[in-house]
Subunit: 188 residues, 2 copies
Amino acid sequence: MVYKDDKELFLLGLLHGHDSHGYELNTLLAHPTAPIRIGKANAYQILARFEDRGWTTVTETRDGNRPPRRVYTLTPAGEEAFNRMLRSRLATHAPTEHANVVALNFLELLPRAEVLVLLTQRLAAAQSYVRELRLAAGDDAGQHYGVDYLLRHAEFEERWLTDLIADLSAQAEADSSHEAGHDPSTLA
Amino acid sequence: MVYKDDKELFLLGLLHGHDSHGYELNTLLAHPTAPIRIGKANAYQILARFEDRGWTTVTETRDGNRPPRRVYTLTPAGEEAFNRMLRSRLATHAPTEHANVVALNFLELLPRAEVLVLLTQRLAAAQSYVRELRLAAGDDAGQHYGVDYLLRHAEFEERWLTDLIADLSAQAEADSSHEAGHDPSTLA
DNA sequence: TTTTGTATAGTCATAAATGACTAGTATACT
DNA sequence: AGTATACTAGTCATTTATGACTATACAAAA
């Protein structure tokens, strides 16, 4: 789980120094370089909490005949909360949850050959994710350390998967040659 | 978010090939090498869902005068579901959420010197987490690919943090020497 | 001119997840 | 003899999160 505190910190950070309205916030939250995901309905709930706590105020503005914008602004109390949470969270390490890993623990239960097929599919997905991130990061490349982290992690994941596949393939070959009764290292 | 499907897959995997009771499951879930976390109350809810779907059966056993155990066993339907989900999930890549990164995006808003203090604290925590994982992984080292991933990721995180701190320190020095009006590379 | 897309606002019913709590036995420590 | 810890079972009220849904205005494409 990503804890609600991190979601709050993230939203506060988006509002810090740049007042924003719900629609804009949600495009930011949906951006591929967002470190955590906050659904739309959830974002509104969190904003409502903020207002309850006096951390934000809302101002309605209008541009022509477009639907009016409700612009959220941090109050001094909100700024303070942001700073407090930021300091606290910067100093803290929390173990990351790795949903992608769950299935890997049960690798042995499936036939090797099939596993290789499945992992190859996954690798393709991981690679296209890296590409997507690189593209999306192009804009603010080098500006935000967080984005750098995301990219490097994605690359790490890709590398790890590649290695795993290589490892399993090697084993598979060794197995099959063993079954066939001859050692491939003596061939060719 | 870790999706409920991953939680279900994880629980099914724990039950696969080894019937288990609530207490034991919860110690497994609380183990430091668990890739995702599932709270106790939540685990019971998921087990209840499994029973509704006919994926598990429960048998009460008793050992001496101890409180009776309620042992959960996968039914054939449960095994089937596990296999289906496992295959699907093995082939799929899902972007990981990085709650630890959120605060890093707002690094620039705090004075450098303070940031360095905070990050150093965090690094210590990250390091002791690596140590904890290494210890906990000792048991099943090399047996589960997932555990290998967790360890490597933790090390990756530690390295990244170390590099970040070095980077920021270098900048801080450059800044202060610049303010002081002389270039440190010409000294000593 | 109709359709599609994007800019704007959300809401609502439901599902998932949490933290704190209860209740009892056995064993090991002080 | 008393106390703490591990073994066993959960439950329950509350909070958090989700997906699907509704509305309106404008711009560009078909």
